[in-house]
Amino acid sequence: MHRPGENAAGPAEAPAPVKRAGEGGWMERLGAALVAPTRALAASETSAGAGRAPADLAVLILAGFMATSLPRLVKAGWLVADGAAMDGVHLFLADLSGALMAPLLFVIVSGLAVTVLAGRRRSTAADFDLACVAAVPLAAIPAVVQLAYRIGAASPGLLTAANWAGYAWGGALVALAVRQARRRRSRGGAS
């Protein structure tokens, strides 16, 4: 008995799908923003990659938030369970907004900067996709530093320094994003 697509000699020889830039998995897109930013930025402007960067960034931020805020999330859960639901919700929302604030502000400011600096080649949606790629280091660095902090290899001062390094890294990516936006062939053209 053979499954569909197989013959007696084994699986049918089918041409391997060719993955284009922007078609890699979430982990690959995330890693590209860190180690191959030019490729990641270009991929975000392809038809396959358009619109993925904001979702990728959101997943990264939420995963980081869940990982680094677990004790406080448990505390919020206890408050809800103990009948202080408003306090639990308040604690949860305060922590969530704290986690979202910096990357969201960064995306808004850098997205606007890319839009303005792209001149006639601006495309608002694509510009904010680029900004989301540029924000990946900002969202990834805190997790790395939190790990170092938890195993006793980092001080609170280093947390602050690492956050600033994240901004600097993100800023460099914004510069690349502007260059990417200015290379577009025509206005409105996520190609």
Partner: protein, 195 residues
Amino acid sequence: MSETASRARSRWAGGMVVAVIALVFALDLIAVARSWDRLRPIGAGGAAPAIDLPRIGDDGRVGPDRVSLASLRGRVVVVDFWETWCRPCRESMPVVERVTARHAAGGVALVSVCSDGTERSAEARRLVDDLAPRATLLADDGAVADRYGVATIPHLVVIARDGSIASVHRRYAGAASLERDLDAAIQEALSRPAP
């Protein structure tokens, strides 16, 4: 660098980030499992966790003298957890001061625990002098607030004379309700027999 190598490097970097997040989550999971009970907010009936903190002096400096909860045993103690940036805390302070002053003769002490007091002791001193001058002001680095399960501030704990928690009041919903609730809680704690 070839496209294939670049993509492999990207997958490796993305995998590292995911691994780091997973590791932080695992470490926190262990920490949560170890301190499960400590994360639960402390409610009425349980024994009040120990407090032994440096006092913020009249000059706004921390220490050297310390105040412990044990030294106040035999009195009803109202512990007010707050931080200098917290506006509702500042708004609630005069109410707490007024209610505790009303019962001072009955043996009620007000202890003001400033959770950012080790860093902002002078500002904490000025605020308490203005808003709750009868309070004993202590500097906390967050450890005691953590032991009391303080999640939102202001957070008031009324401790009975036997060292058990009589009631907990979270957040500030207005002067009238706080005055009514705190007054009733202090009266209830005072009505309990001394140890």
